[in-house]
């Protein structure tokens, strides 16, 4: 039995991600939890996130999720961050007037801006909402079976720039280029929502369920 702890710190709906994980693996038990012992006992850990980062980080700190995340990352077990769960791993986000994040990886989260334009000068709406192409910048078990430039579903107004470009797992462009994913040892994190990205997203989650945590 493969047990996955989906860290539940009270922000947003975890229903879809739990159901998607159950769908892609028959012998998987998905537990929604903030209990450090349950997270410690799990075989893999998923950090989701939706909503404003200030509230997310505040709840993580209040519930001790920050320490759980650090421990899970150090333990070497497969760890997946999604959306704000990816942004939260960096140092700092501009959102909500500036928020210190968990600082597990060097990087910053910036606003797309109110006057975003594409190369032709056409106005781009914010949030970046919808299906955009992801350029996989390295070979990784989580990208396995997913074609280069496949579209995934995004919904966000802030984008990540990692300090160490060697950790970038993929890039995307929306008015500006940004780092769409992070890969370091047992950690993989993405800005888009695999649980909302139909077949490609389910494939990525299945890869996570089968991953041994090594690059």
């Amino acid at each position: 039995m493969n047990r996955i702890a989906v860290i539940d710190y009270g922000m947003g709906n975890l229903h879809s991600v739990a159901k998607a994980l159950e769908l892609v693996s028959e012998d998987t038990e998905v537990v929604l939890t903030a209990d450090p012992q349950v997270v410690r006992d799990a075989d893999r850990v998923l950090l989701p996130g939706v909503g404003a980062i200030r509230d997310c980080i505040a709840e993580m700190r209040r519930l001790g999720v920050d320490a759980e995340v650090k421990e899970a990352i150090q333990s070497g077990k497969p760890f997946l961050g999604i959306c704000v769960g990816y942004q939260a791993l960096t140092d700092f986000s501009e959102e909500n007037g500036g928020v210190d994040c968990l600082g597990e990886f060097g990087g910053r989260v910036n606003f797309f801006g109110k006057r975003l334009k594409d190369a032709q000068g056409e106005k781009l709406k914010v949030p970046h909402m919808g299906w955009n192409q992801v350029n996989q910048t390295l070979d990784h078990p989580l990208w396995q079976g997913i074609e280069q430039d496949t579209r995934f579903y995004f919904v966000h107004s802030y984008h990540v720039h990692l300090a160490d470009k060697a950790l970038v797992a993929g890039t995307c462009e929306y008015g500006v280029p940004f780092d769409v994913g992070l890969a370091k040892d047992n950690v993989f994190a993405v800005q888009f929502h695999p649980e909302k990205s139909s077949k490609a997203g389910l494939k990525l989650l299945q890869n996570f369920v089968n991953w041994n945590g090594q690059q």
């Binding site: 879809s16 159901k19 769908l23 966000h156």
Partner: protein, 257 residues
């Protein structure tokens, strides 16, 4: 490389069944919403919008259950609307598995509700549905007003100003329906679609009036919509989602294939 225009099949759901007001065809039942949504996901739809048109309380419970079932089997974004009046309504729908909720009448009567909802749940999940009707005469500069109660009650609110106000209050997206066009199959009202889309900085979904694939193309190109919503052309197999996408791509529109 660019963001794809989204194609969104819309399910009108009453007491747990998809219904469609193609009145002259007298086809009421278009199936189980979960089955219908699964089919669209399979075909490559980019999102599903689910509008509950049930009035009764029992019906509302059925709907929450339907959203739960749908979210367990359909892994594309799901917007749910119809009768959303309080933050508790929103919480219930999000917990059931909706990704976004659509607020319509409640926003007209209490704009602050949009602000409260956006602050509590994040703008990304708050869609404001706007039902607009053209009130300018032929030859005059276009003017559209917000109507409620299925298009019967004018509010005196200018639709473009209203959309701007909704953005300021925290709406993450606008679902814009032309009441004149809805069900008529003559295409979207491109004037109001473009007017709203060029004014606001949030995505706009065009809705109301699709009868053929050119209407989807026009909505994206002339209407500048970020997403196009349609119901009957898909429900009754006049066109499939892949046909629609292939057609749009031939006309230079970025779509997810």
């Amino acid at each position: 490389m660019a963001l794809a225009k989204r194609i969104i099949p819309c399910l009108d759901v009453e007491n747990g069944r998809v219904v469609k007001g193609v009145k002259f065809l007298d086809i009421r039942d278009a199936g189980d919403p979960v089955e219908v949504a699964r089919r669209y996901d399979e075909q490559g739809a980019d999102e599903i919008t689910f509008l509950d048109i049930t009035a009764s309380h029992e019906g509302r419970d059925t709907m929450v259950h339907t959203v739960e079932r749908m979210a367990s089997q359909v892994f594309i974004p799901l917007t749910v609307g119809g009768g959303v009046r309080t933050c508790d309504d929103i919480r219930t729908l999000l917990n059931a598995g909706a990704d976004k909720v659509s607020i319509n009448t409640a926003a007209v009567f209490n704009p602050e509700f949009v602000k409260e909802a956006a602050e509590r749940f994040g703008s990304q999940c708050i869609v404001v549905a706007i039902d607009a009707k053209k009130v300018s005469a032929q030859g005059e500069e276009g003017r559209w007003e917000i109507f409620t109660h299925g298009g019967r009650k004018p509010t005196g609110l200018d639709a473009i100003e209203w959309a701007q106000k909704m953005e300021e209050l925290g709406a993450g997206e606008i679902l814009l329906t032309s009441m004149d066009q809805d069900g008529v199959k003559n295409g979207y009202d491109l004037g109001i679609t473009r007017g709203v889309s060029e004014t606001v900085n949030i995505p706009v979904i065009a809705s109301g009036g699709v009868g053929n694939l050119d209407h989807l193309v026009d909505g994206c190109i002339e209407g500048k919509a970020d997403a196009v919503l349609a119901a009957s052309i898909f429900h009754f197999n006049e066109y499939s989602v892949p046909e629609a996408k292939a057609y749009m791509r031939e006309r230079g529109i970025e779509v997810r294939l």
